[in-house]
């Protein structure tokens, strides 16, 4: 074979395994070798599940598995529960937590004969945009080790970009799949709210969180979404909407979609390289005969502020469960119950998590609730309304994914500067829509850039089709 196994896309790899032309065990060994070689510098993983992966691969080979992901080694963000495998959320408070059950997405991946190769690093409880908020260590960007891989699914992105996993799952609350995908030259999809079950995803902000794939190609993202989507009685927010054969219907007639774009003024805060890449993509779209329609997002500037009220409010409530009683770390020693709660949480949570819990506690507290949380909910509704208006004129909307390419480790010490990384992505979560980040070339220094394709609710197929069409044309 000419190409190394670790270079093959997911759909080809699984086909070779299904046909018995390649053994799942060979595939796993090839990936484990890559991990051994690259992990000391990258630190993309918190736990490498070497033995589990070998066992699963052996079973795939023995039963001559025919699943859609047969023998494909996947990396899983460490906020997705894996039975018997430590799941930390990159937090001291869950450092030794071993869940007794699988998230629904894990059961679905295993039913499709995938192999779990490890649990990836992230910003603690998915709060961050650089993976520097991990309680353990930061992850490095495979394109430039002095730079961040993005976040919060930064470990997943780095692992896939470096060939340590064939693809990965991440979670996206405000851009946490799409931003690291853009920083690491990958495809990253945040599905429609309700498309994928979140049973077993450690909750951060429940009205925003979604699980999605990070992959090296659009077809691989479509294939994985096909496997993990669908209604789940264990997640009452999951939708009964039928699951399409996303990866089978990627062909598109050029010009058949109306494509919305942001006017120059809305993208003004993006770096020159990002604006240039965005402009190039729009040129391709136009030259291929698609109708380009300007869309106005008057509220885009307010989406971040809205998000930083809603998400911390929900987080402050969701993270109340970490009390040192039923699971996770407990502060040692003789204390009263209240002291134990407080000592446990103070020692167990990192700075950013504390910041957000306190911010959320403030926004929900008596006397401030209406002015902050109440106000943010109204603004959120208006943002949804702006998208509804935009989707009357356009089928897909293209924006940059991030305001800039991957930044240097340690470059953003001011929390608000870090929050601005999600300028183009948070509105999509607030509106519950699907969006994909697609590689859109490189900066002169060789750093990857991305554009974001946003679709209307449950129209994943449209964004996959346009992304698949553009993929070959905008890569270099």
């Amino acid at each position: 074979m000419s190409r190394p196994l670790t270079d093959l896309p997911v759909h080809e790899l699984s086909q070779l395994v299904r046909r018995g032309e390649v053994k799942a065990q060979e595939v796993v060994e090839a990936y484990l070798n890559n991990i051994k070689e690259k992990e000391p510098k990258l630190k993309a993983f918190i736990t490498v599940t070497e033995e589990l992966a070998r066992r699963q691969a052996r079973s795939v080979d023995e039963k001559k598995a025919k699943g859609k992901l047969a023998g494909v080694p996947l990396a899983i963000k460490d906020n997705i529960l894996t039975a018997g495998v430590r799941t930390t959320c990159a937090s001291r408070i869950l450092e030794h937590y071993i869940p007794p059950y699988n998230a629904t997405v894990i059961d679905k991946l295993l039913a499709a004969d995938a192999v779990i190769i490890g649990k990836t690093n992230m910003d603690e409880f998915a709060m961050g945009s650089s993976t520097e908020n991990s309680a353990f260590y930061p992850t490095h960007n495979p394109y430039d080790e002095k730079r961040v891989p993005g976040g919060s699914s930064g470990g997943s992105a780095a692992a896939v970009a470096a060939g340590e996993a064939a693809a990965a799952l991440g979670s996206d609350t405000g851009g946490s799949i799409r931003q690291p995908a853009a920083f690491c030259g990958l495809v990253g999809l945040k599905p429609t709210y309700g498309r994928v079950s979140r049973y077993g995803l450690v909750a951060f902000a429940s009205s925003l969180d979604q699980i999605g794939p990070l992959t090296r190609s659009v077809v691989d993202a479509a294939l994985i979404l096909e496997v993990i989507s669908g209604y789940d009685p264990k997640d009452s927010t999951s939708a009964k909407e039928p699951v399409a054969a996303y990866s089978q219907e990627l062909e598109l007639t050029p010009g058949s979609l109306r494509v919305g774009y942001l006017e120059e003024s809305r993208a003004k805060d993006a770096s020159a390289e990002v604006r240039e890449a965005y402009r190039r993509v729009l040129e391709v779209v136009e030259s291929e005969g698609f109708e380009l329609v300007p869309v106005d997002f008057a509220l885009l500037d307010y989406a971040l502020a809205c998000y930083y009220v809603i998400a911390p409010s929900e987080a402050s409530s969701n993270l109340a469960r970490y009390d040192g009683v039923r699971y996770g770390f407990r502060y040692p020693g003789e204390h009263t119950l209240r002291e134990m709660y407080s000592l446990t949480r103070t020692a167990g949570f990192g700075r950013e998590v504390k910041r957000r819990i306190l911010l959320g506690t403030f926004a929900l507290s008596a006397g401030y609730y209406e002015a902050y949380y109440g106000r943010a909910r109204v603004v959120r509704q208006k943002i949804g309304e702006e998208f509804r208006q935009a989707f009357k004129k356009a089928d897909v909307i293209i924006t940059p994914t991030t305001p800039e390419p991957a930044f240097l480790l340690g470059a953003k010490v001011d929390p608000i500067a870090m929050y601005l990384s999600d300028y183009f992505t948070v509105a999509v979560n607030l509106a519950g829509l699907p969006a994909i980040s697609l590689p859109a070339g490189f900066t002169p220094e060789g750093l990857p850039l991305g554009v974001q394709l946003i679709g209307d609710a449950f129209k994943e197929q449209s964004i996959f089709q346009l992304a698949f069409f553009l993929e070959k044309k905008v890569k270099s």
Binding site: A305, C306, T336, R351, P415
Partner: protein
Amino acid sequence: MRDRFDLEHLCRLAHLHLDSEEMAELRPQLEQIVAWVSQLGELTIEKEAGLTGETRLPFRPDEVEASLPREEVLAAAAEKDEAFIKVPKVIEER
């Protein structure tokens, strides 16, 4: 919108105990973030806009299903005593 707040009070509500160094770091940051999100107050939104179409989640059928095995659940607890999770004394002595 008011943008000052009582950090000690919030810490009590959130069961967090910050030392003076953390207080000194977090207080100005939180004040800055709150001032920043207060821009939401600048927006003019028509009164009638209000909240529409709020989602109501369906309940699942109330059917008894097997729960997780007790040993597996207890394995995750910090302190346990046979079949129970142990917590510090709830009633404090005076």
